[in-house]
């Protein structure tokens, strides 16, 4: 495992505006791509609110657009748990977000070398 490129998954449970957890997770995720690690973001529970096309700087929160564009450019995939979206009646989300079922989410986590859990 040592020295081998890692499969890193960031699980986001935190809502977009209550803390700076989401922008910080994005900053860490971008950092992980520098060493060519395979990085994925998984939005779970209330974390799926981050799937919306939000404008956080309108309320003085850190802007995430540049980070999201950079993530996309670095090949980071952003997944959202379909059931969590449905439970919150979120029908529309950003085009950068891919919906996945619980089984796929489970495999994403179990196949990971490193899991970082942002609650």
């Amino acid at each position: 495992m040592k020295g081998v490129l890692k499969n890193v998954v960031f699980i986001i449970w935190a809502t977009p505006f209550n803390t700076v957890l989401f922008p910080e997770a994005l900053r860490m995720a971008i950092g992980q791509t520098v060493s060519d690690n395979r990085v994925s973001l998984l939005l779970m529970g209330d974390g799926v609110w981050n799937a919306l096309n939000l404008v956080p700087h309108m309320i003085g929160r850190p802007d995430i657009h540049e980070s999201m564009e950079l993530l996309s450019a670095c090949g980071v995939r952003v997944f959202a748990d379909e059931r969590s979206l449905k439970e919150r009646e979120i029908g529309e989300h950003g085009s950068h977000v891919e919906k996945i079922g619980r089984t796929e989410a489970y495999h994403l986590i179990t196949d990971a070398d490193v899991v970082m859990n942002f609650r």
């Binding site: 900053r27 992980q32 520098v34 060493s35």
Partner: protein, 105 residues
């Protein structure tokens, strides 16, 4: 590790690091967010601390995210001697170079 000394995770990380170092493992700790407060020099008699100083003496490497210290208005001379100031790039190298990575966020 993101947690400040108020949190049990700060103490758990310290105890784990001690235990791993005691059996000969190479241990590195990367502190971010309020986690950096675990290595601020604190002379208060009732100082809030999980006691990270002895870890450095045992050879445990402790690094901080420089950005998160700067945005908290903390200066380098406020931290324990031996602590390194690093970046997310360094964290990615740490993730690549380790056998096991544990996160406490």
């Amino acid at each position: 590790m993101h947690k400040s000394p108020e949190h049990q995770d700060a103490h758990t990380v310290k105890r784990l690091a001690e235990a791993f170092a005691d059996v000969g493992h190479e241990v590195s700790i990367f502190l971010m967010e309020d986690g950096v407060l675990n290595v601020v020099i604190n002379h208060s008699p009732r100082g809030l601390s999980a006691g990270y100083d002895p870890l450095l003496e045992r050879g445990v490497k402790i690094a901080l995210c420089t950005y998160t210290t700067e945005i908290r208005g903390l200066n380098r001379d406020q931290f324990l001697k031996g602590v390194e100031f690093q970046s997310q790039y360094d964290l990615s190298k740490l993730v690549n170079g380790c056998d096991r990575f544990l996160s406490f966020i």
